[in-house]
């Protein structure tokens, strides 16, 4: 069936079964490379996208259930300028292989939107369900603190 999605500011029509997880539609029909398949079970976070700003696991979300604006990693930069969270990731040189970083970055963005100045404990708790097998957690947490500072200094809304 044909359905309409709003992705990174564009309206897209795709032809897929309603039960198809959003992840496959984004990757295979829309050619997006940000969201990754990690587990298909909603356990690791590699497939994360934002739906109306909320971090959502696209591997277990039927495409027909999505009502609202989807933002993927590709959609974070505005007018060619990286989002402060992405910039913090580069400044801290966070990734190793980088395969999970889509979920780390988008979950961090959603976290900072809810809580612009999280404590260390709040960062640990807010990020806890996003797994990294290269174990970049220490650098991810440093980048979140850096992004929080940069955004509050500039008055950026996440």
């Amino acid at each position: 069936m044909s359905l309409t999605l709003r992705v990174n500011g564009k309206t897209q029509r795709v032809d897929a079964e309603p039960s198809t997880p959003l992840l496959y539609v984004l990757r295979n029909d829309l050619g997006l490379r940000g969201p990754h398949f990690g587990c298909g079970l909603g356990q690791c976070g590699a497939c994360t996208v934002l739906v109306n700003g909320r971090a959502t696991r696209s591997c277990i979300t039927p495409c027909s259930a999505v009502k609202g604006e989807i933002t993927t990693l590709e959609g974070l930069a505005k007018d060619g300028k990286l989002h402060p969270v992405q910039q913090a990731w580069i400044d801290e040189q966070v990734p190793q292989c980088g395969f999970c970083q889509n979920g780390q970055i988008l979950t961090a963005k959603a976290l900072l939107e809810r809580n612009p100045q999280p404590t260390d404990a709040e960062i640990r708790e807010g990020m806890n369900g996003v797994l990294c097998r290269c174990m970049t957690y220490y650098r991810v947490q440093a980048a979140i603190r850096r992004a929080s500072k940069a955004m509050s200094a500039k008055g950026v809304v996440a």
């Binding site: 500011g9 309206t11 897209q12 490379r33 974070l76 966070v94 190793q96 220490y138």
Partner: protein
């Protein structure tokens, strides 16, 4: 972002509406063939472009440690070109030389050498060109950032790009193998390397952060289809019958493919393949004999079964006599379970069979080996097969024994269309290659003054039939199809490095086999420093046990053993070991006292543990500070400190981050990771049943000290040694030693999950 419904409607009105009908990122391949790239041709390594930039092509892959940036640094230094004007191409078999891909932490230690020499040779050839152009001897020329100038006439200047333009060098190198490839030019002394020792940012990170990178999972080709495997539900099961009617009529079904015990479904769309694989009804016959003991009974089994092989023990001095004269004999058994590679993304590959060629798009860390494996597996000559390397989820050795490449190539040949294979999570966690389980017995003899007289190390490793690198007759699909080799690999068990001057030593190793040898989910492969973490967990825990028995501070106990002799090991690693141990103790703020620490009354007990190891010439000393919750058994490593000496450091920031992550990987292995199984199948199938380190487990502070403990630290020929795996080795023992320091309870069985820790605390209370 859009926050209200009105904004949403307003913005929707002005946006382009497009209809997406699938995406294609690649083009069908050309007619080939793809001959080997000649490593004795300078042009295979370096291309200079008219704009005075350079492309370096190297036979490596990057597993996430940023090695490409380091290769650019060291090659830019030898070539004398600005780092910013260089790019690096890696790992694709048709356009880069074969340096074996990645593995063994050899990127800098071994593989940077031919790169350096090629770059030095290119500089020599370019200076010769400039010399001819200006009719001036080379000695009167200088070069900076790819611009050659006549020293006493700065008006005479020419760029590398102008000298060679878009032309090729056509210069031959010499050397009997790629590691020896060299031109006529010598490499520079370390003191003249300008980019080396600095930390330019990794070039691969921005596209990983903005979503623009095309990963191996992203390759899309015209007419491609999607495949999923259907694995046997029981280890060693035989395929009886496939009921194809169970999937007949499913949308998008292309074909059910099976041979022997290998089964896969191929569909037009990915979600269709996943559904078809779930719905396909297959009848399997259980094996007559249980394939393995349950994971609960594994170590009893390993200690009782007759080994498949035993190495000749390494003996120094007279350990047996020393044991009879000991004032105190300490004995301990250590158990390390099977641990998985469990990459964050499962195995995947795309194979394109068009035009009589086979191109595999893969994240295989040994892409050159995969090319040979795929060619042999599908029966094609090597030069008809190429592997295009692209980035992927790090597997720490998993992709050296990649399975998806051969599967995709086989299916592509069957279907006659490009096939993309991806494993599911349960398949990856259960069936990926495993790090072998170890059962280790240690005995130590102390004299009445607490001196260590003798040590006896005896290790058993469940490593029989350890799989090789992309071998056409050991890859899982070959096993399942019955096209496997006759003789399994003998496997190995490692002994600890001989780090200490212990006068009487005996070290023995044995390999044991589980009942099921082939088609087993417990097949072993190399996981980040294969066997080092296991043997070092035992040996460095035991040194702590001896220190505690002697009532000596564990740092001082080690220092005494290191300082007892300088005659063996040429004194070189020993001198650097002493420097690394002193550096880690200083960075941590170690105060001298024996373990365990007197216990407080509170719910949280804290302690510190030290351990050290070397791997090749790389020395690593680590200290962990832990909190143990007495009520729950939960362990948190609050602080980690590492002193690391790998000789010449190319990029300190990349190295530091790699070390941090390596320590955390081993922390995960220490407190979380174990592959569990019953007597039919692996039951660790996802992140709940095979947990891993999380954000909540992350230490509050990590310090990495880069040490140069070389007795001649300013030597012009200071070499880079391996990094990445070495830092994994001591951490398991450092955590165990810290838990002992905190609680007085010695844990000898990995992992230290909360229930096991709690049970041990209660048993000791």
């Amino acid at each position: 972002m859009i926050t209200s419904r009105r904004d949403l409607l307003k913005s929707a009105g002005i946006l382009v509406v497009s209809f997406a009908a699938g995406v294609r990122t690649g083009k069908a391949q050309g007619a080939g063939p793809y001959p080997d790239v000649d490593f004795l041709e300078l042009d295979s390594w370096i291309a200079i472009h008219p704009d005075n930039s350079a492309t370096f092509s190297v036979g490596k892959t990057d597993c996430g440690q940023g090695t490409g940036t380091s290769f650019r640094q060291i090659m830019a230094d030898e070539l004398d070109i600005a780092f910013e004007k260089t790019t690096c191409v890696m790992g694709s078999t048709d356009i880069t030389v074969d340096q074996g891909g990645s593995g063994g932490s050899t990127a800098m230690e071994r593989d940077s050498w031919p790169m350096r020499r090629a770059a030095a040779e290119a500089r020599r050839v370019l200076l010769d060109m400039a010399s001819e152009r200006f009719q001036t001897p080379v000695a009167e020329l200088e070069v900076h950032d790819g611009v050659v100038t006549v020293k006493n006439d700065p008006s005479k200047t020419v760029t590398y790009g102008q000298l060679i333009g878009a032309k090729k060098f056509h210069v031959r190198l010499s050397g009997s193998n790629i590691n020896e490839a060299t031109g006529k030019a010598p490499v520079k002394p370390v003191q003249q390397l300008n980019n080396v020792g600095k930390s330019p940012q990794r070039y691969d990170i921005p596209p990983k952060v903005d979503g623009s990178l095309e990963w191996a999972v992203d390759v899309r080709l015209p007419a491609m289809v999607h495949a999923r495997n259907v694995k046997p539900p029981f280890a060693g099961a035989k395929l009886k019958r496939i009921d194809e009617s169970s999937v007949r009529g499913l949308p998008g079904l292309v074909k059910v493919v099976s041979k022997g015990n290998y089964v896969a479904v191929v569909c037009e769309r990915e979600e269709q393949a996943i559904r078809a694989a779930q719905m396909l009804k297959v009848e399997w016959e259980k094996p007559e004999r249980a394939p393995f003991p349950s994971s609960e009974n594994l170590f009893n089994y390993m200690r009782e079964v007759k080994p498949t092989s035993s190495g000749k023990p390494v003996v120094a001095g007279d350990p047996e006599t020393a044991f009879t004269r000991a004032a105190q004999v300490i004995e301990a058994d250590y158990d390390i379970p099977f641990q998985g590679h469990t990459a964050i993304g499962p195995a995947h590959a795309m194979a394109d069979p068009s035009n009589g060629q086979m191109t595999v798009y893969s994240n295989d860390m040994k892409s050159y080996g995969m090319r040979r494996g795929v060619a042999a597996f599908v029966g094609m000559p090597n030069d008809r097969v190429r592997v295009v390397w692209k980035e992927g989820p790090q597997g720490f050795g998993r992709t050296a024994a990649d399975d998806a490449g051969c599967e995709a190539a086989y299916l592509a040949k069957e279907i006659g269309r490009p096939v993309r294979v991806q494993w599911m999570r349960s398949e990856e966690t259960a069936w990926d290659t495993k790090s072998p389980a170890f059962a280790v017995k240690l005995r130590g003899a102390l004299d009445s003054a607490g001196n260590l007289l003798a040590i006896d190390f005896d290790a058993r490793s469940a490593d029989y039939n350890h799989v090789g690198y992309n071998e056409a007759d050991t890859v899982l699909i070959a096993q399942l199809m019955g096209s496997r080799r006759e003789q399994p690999a003998s496997g190995s068990a490692s002994m600890p490095s001989e780090m200490y001057a212990i006068p009487n030593r005996r070290m023995a190793t044995h390999v044991v086999s589980l009942p099921l040898i082939w088609e087993t989910p417990l097949r072993t492969g190399n996981l980040r420093d294969p066997n080092g973490p296991q043997s070092t967990f035992a040996s460095e825990s035991f040194i702590d046990e001896l220190a505690a028995a002697a009532k000596v501070d564990p740092f001082e106990f080690r220092m005494k053993l290191l300082q007892a002799s300088t005659s063996d090991d040429a004194g070189f690693r020993r001198a650097r070991s002493i420097a690394a141990l002193q550096a880690v103790a200083k960075a941590y703020g170690w105060d001298s006292r024996p373990s365990p620490k007197p216990r407080g009354a509170g719910e949280i007990l804290t302690g510190r543990g030290i351990a050290y190891a070397f791997r090749g010439e790389t020395i690593v000393a680590e200290i962990a500070e832990v909190e143990v919750n007495r009520r729950t058994g939960h362990v948190w490593a609050k602080r980690l400190v590492c002193a690391h000496d790998c000789g010449l450091v190319i990029n300190p920031q990349s190295l530091t981050h790699t070390i941090e992550c390596a320590m955390l990987h081993s922390l995960s292995r220490a407190i979380h990771e174990e592959v569990e199984f019953d007597t039919e199948k692996v039951t660790s199938v996802d992140w709940k049943t095979h947990p891993t380190l999380t954000h909540a487990d992350t230490p509050e502070r990590i310090d990495v000290v880069l040490v140069n403990g070389d007795p001649h630290p300013d030597r012009p020929d200071l070499r880079p040694y391996g990094a990445g795996e070495a830092a994994c080795k001591p951490m398991l023992a450092a955590i165990a030693n810290a838990i002992y320091d905190a609680t007085g309870v010695r844990l000898r069985r990995i992992p230290f999950r909360a229930p096991r820790v709690l049970a041990a605390l209660r048993a000791a209370a």
